[in-house]
């Protein structure tokens, strides 16, 4: 009996992302109980749509956080805004420019990533400060470049980002695939193993032959490029690039990583948790809105519930 229990516990504790999905499911259940079943499908569909964007930036952030204490990318919102604004302006709503626009967006991300790591490595600025200060520069560039105008995306891009197959968002399917690929990258490639090793013990990793500087560079580049991709897609999804479009993704990118069961101390990460956490975050807000609670109570409960899930998910590391 106890053996069976402990075996079950081992299975759960080996999969810390289960808590995020459990939380998402409970919150969703509570919502449709309250509405008497109406809108269950729509809520889920909307959750998938919006969670998609948190997951894209969450993947980049997760790899960065996994590098170990002190590693975080705070320039994600600015990079999203910058890449969104630049690519929308270059595409000028022409469908033919969609691919060049994507390339430009990704190059913007690459540039920000290089700049971030330049500050971190060459000037030895702690990542939290380096990415924060570069985000001011990048955000200012976006303002100067876009002059605060909301530029519409090309028709086709808008259609692609909002397309649904049998009620299931097309973009979500793509990003589920992306997450699956990144999960394989994390566990089965030299790059992924190196990130995990550095997060546990950077000195030991270097002495075991891991090219620590190169891996860190690649990780910060990856985060910035994914943020740029997210900015590009989000601009298409929400009808254009605006200057505050990235704002909520600073917290979201970190929250989905942590709630998803990735270790803040580094060296341990998982991809499914990002999806569970992103869905949970969206559904939680939806639930509290459905209950018709006041803004203050909503924020309060959001905080309390997030702490609860993190405590549960974090329980495995002792």
């Amino acid at each position: 009996m106890t053996a069976a229990l402990s075996k079950h516990f081992k299975i759960i504790s080996g999969k810390p992302w289960i808590w995020a999905f459990a939380g998402a499911f409970l919150v969703w259940g509570a919502t449709i109980l309250y509405t008497g079943g109406t809108g269950a499908g729509q809520i889920l569909s909307a959750a998938l749509s919006f969670a998609t964007f948190s997951v894209i930036v969450g993947i980049g952030q997760m790899y960065v956080i996994t590098l170990g204490p002190g590693n975080v990318d705070l320039s994600i919102p600015a990079t999203m805004t910058f890449a969104g604004a630049v690519s929308m302006k270059i595409m000028e709503t022409q469908d033919a420019m969609i691919l060049p626009g994507l390339v430009i967006a990704l190059l913007c991300g690459l540039a920000v990533g290089l700049f971030n790591y330049g500050l971190i490595h060459a000037l030895r600025i702690p990542p939290i400060i380096a990415t924060l200060s570069s985000s001011f520069l990048v955000q200012s560039s976006a303002i100067a470049y876009g002059r605060g105008l909301k530029i519409k995306p090309p028709e086709l891009l808008a259609e692609f980002t909002t397309a649904r197959i049998a009620g299931f968002p097309l973009l979500a399917i793509c990003v589920i695939l992306l997450a699956a690929i990144m999960s394989v990258v994390l566990h089965r490639t030299v790059f992924g193993r190196s990130v995990l090793a550095i997060g546990q013990n950077p000195r030991a990793a270097a002495l075991a032959g891991v090219k620590v500087d190169f891996i860190r560079l690649a990780t910060y580049l990856q985060s910035a490029v994914l943020a740029a991709l997210c900015g590009y897609l989000l601009a298409g999804f929400s009808g254009g690039a605006s200057l505050n479009m990235g704002a909520e993704y600073l917290l979201a990118s970190i929250a989905v990583v942590v709630i998803g069961g990735t270790s803040v101390a580094g060296g341990f990460a998982n991809l499914p948790g990002l999806w569970g956490a992103a869905l949970f975050m969206f559904l939680l807000v939806t639930m509290l809105n459905t209950f018709g609670l006041s803004a203050g109570i909503r924020l309060l409960l959001t905080g309390v519930i997030i702490v609860g899930v993190i405590t549960l998910a974090g329980g495995r590391r002792d």
Partner: protein, 514 residues
């Protein structure tokens, strides 16, 4: 003060073990008032453990300490009791707080300095003592310790140990007090120490500078392998007898070792570097299939040399080592080696990821095969290589780290004193494996602080102060020669001054009276 040559502390059968390691085995020792006691012995002989017990920072596993004034005082003997008995310590690793001033550091030792004006009193206390011990020291009591040179820090540490406020000082313990002082300052200290002893104080002096010990001590205790092996008046010793007493009698080496392969100087060395502090043309060289030992006292630049080789730095010849894959077996497992969240298998595989990659992905079957191979080969004691690495004992963790290096495609394997804390059985297994692998053409660079391990090396470089001071091969490798070279000017028979090359160190220069 006590009467001269009365025992101040009697150490009776004191031993100490850390797990299975016997650091100190049943030591009997009398520490007499009015006598300077020198303790010598190579690394791991138990000197530091013994003084830690006297200072109350370590609890002995057995035995008794008897104080002349208050009788038996074990167990429950702690730092505060040591303080109350008038025992002061200057440790090898300096114990000052770098963010506080000299005066504030002095206050830490003396809780009695309190109330209004404590700072002025602390300032006066420490600067008076500095003036007394090191005239012309040039240290301001308001200097922050972190800003001082290492030599000045050591001077503050020493002067602080001699300060007294309310209770008298009976015993001063100095662990390598002159390691960063130049000759003049060191002499000032030794003179002051003599004065303290002549007034009836007891003193324990630990130093690797044998001349210093011979000159300043009244009595010398030689320690080896956690025990006292000799205890005589200082005048009965000279350099030679001291070195002999420290090392176990050089063992006859087996015939195979005697027929050590002659170095083919004409062929190109696989590794050839000049250590950072090396002022002459000596180089650390390793040829294919050789086991090269890096010997000497711990912390004299051997690890740095290994890291230099590993990072392919300072190689000013165009040796082939540039493209030769290397692996390192760390000595400090927790800091330099183990990935604590991973399984045993993943900890091994990280050294060979590239060879196991097919089409960009690490092949799980190949990974599992490699793990099983090495579990058998190196006998890692675990039912499942997927268990967490921390489920293994320390020795088996070390085996996993060996497997990581040996399983890789490295042709040169660097070992950073990897056998610390490993049981004798495991050691023998690993020695066997090293010889086997060397026979297959792998090259080993092996830093070790254990004399016995040097027996396995074809060629030995002895390090002192970051430079190679002796280069021994084949028959020349004897414990005595290594010991002689490890201590100052050993090979040449010693110079008349108390201080050898240390005085030339740039760091120490800063401490010169200005």
């Amino acid at each position: 003060m006590l009467n001269a040559l009365e025992p101040f502390i009697t150490v009776d059968g004191v031993g100490k073990n850390y797990g299975a390691v016997q650091a100190l085995q049943s030591v009997d020792l009398k520490i007499l008032a009015g006598q300077a006691l020198g303790i010598v012995g190579h690394n791991g002989a138990g000197k530091s453990t013994l003084i830690s017990i006297l200072a109350g920072t370590q609890m002995p596993s057995g035995g008794e300490l008897t104080f002349a004034q208050s009788g038996i005082s074990l167990p429950g003997y702690k730092v505060d009791q040591a303080q109350a008995h008038g025992i002061r310590c200057v440790f090898q690793e300096l114990s000052l707080c770098p963010n506080l001033t000299v005066a504030e550091n002095a206050r830490i030792l003396h809780p009695a300095i309190r109330g209004v004006g404590w700072k002025a009193r602390a300032r006066r206390l420490i600067s008076d003592k500095l003036d007394e011990v090191f005239p012309g020291h040039g240290i301001n009591p308001d200097d922050e310790v972190g800003d001082l040179s290492i030599a000045k820090r050591q001077m503050v540490e020493i002067a602080r140990a001699f300060t007294k406020v309310d209770s008298p000082i009976h015993l001063i313990i100095l662990d390598e007090p002159t390691s960063s002082l130049d000759a003049i300052i060191a002499q000032q200290l030794l003179t002051h120490l003599r004065g303290f002893v002549d007034q009836g104080g007891a003193c324990i002096l630990i130093s690797h500078l044998l001349e210093e010990i011979l000159q300043s001590s009244d009595r010398i205790v030689v320690m080896r392998d956690g025990g006292v092996v000799d205890d005589r008046a200082a005048r009965d010793f000279d350099r030679g007898t001291l070195v002999e007493a420290m090392g176990s009698v050089a063992k006859e080496k087996d015939e195979a070792r005697k027929a050590a392969k002659a170095r083919q100087q004409e062929s190109e060395a696989l590794v050839s570097i000049r250590p950072a502090q090396q002022s002459d043309g000596r180089r650390l060289q390793a040829f294919s299939g050789e086991i090269v030992g890096l010997a000497g006292l711990s912390g004299h630049g051997q690890t740095d040399a290994l890291i230099d080789v590993y990072q392919q730095k300072r190689r000013d010849t165009q040796g082939p080592a540039k493209t030769v894959p290397m692996a390192l077996v760390p000595g400090d497992r927790q800091v330099d080696g183990v990935f604590p969240l991973w399984s045993i298998g993943m900890n091994i595989v990280i050294g060979s990821m590239r060879q196991l990659t097919r089409g960009g992905l690490i092949n799980p079957q190949a990974e599992a095969r490699l793990c099983e191979d090495w579990r058998e080969k190196i006998a890692i004691r675990t039912p499942d290589m997927n268990n967490n690495i921390l489920s293994l004992s320390g020795g088996n963790q070390q085996k996993a780290l060996f497997a990581r290096a040996l399983a890789s495609d490295a042709e040169i394997i660097l070992m950073d004193d990897p056998m610390r804390g490993v049981d004798i059985g495991t050691k023998q297994e690993v020695y066997e494996m090293i010889r086997e692998e060397a026979g297959l053409g792998r090259t080993f660079l092996w830093y070790t602080t254990e004399m016995d391990e040097l027996e396995h090396c074809d060629h030995i470089y002895v390090f002192r102060n970051g430079a190679i001071v002796a280069d021994l091969a084949g028959d020349e490798v004897t414990e005595q020669r290594v010991l002689h070279a490890s201590f100052e000017d050993g090979a040449e028979g010693g110079k008349p001054e108390a201080k050898g090359p240390e005085a030339k160190e740039p760091e120490a220069k800063e401490g010169t009276a200005s």
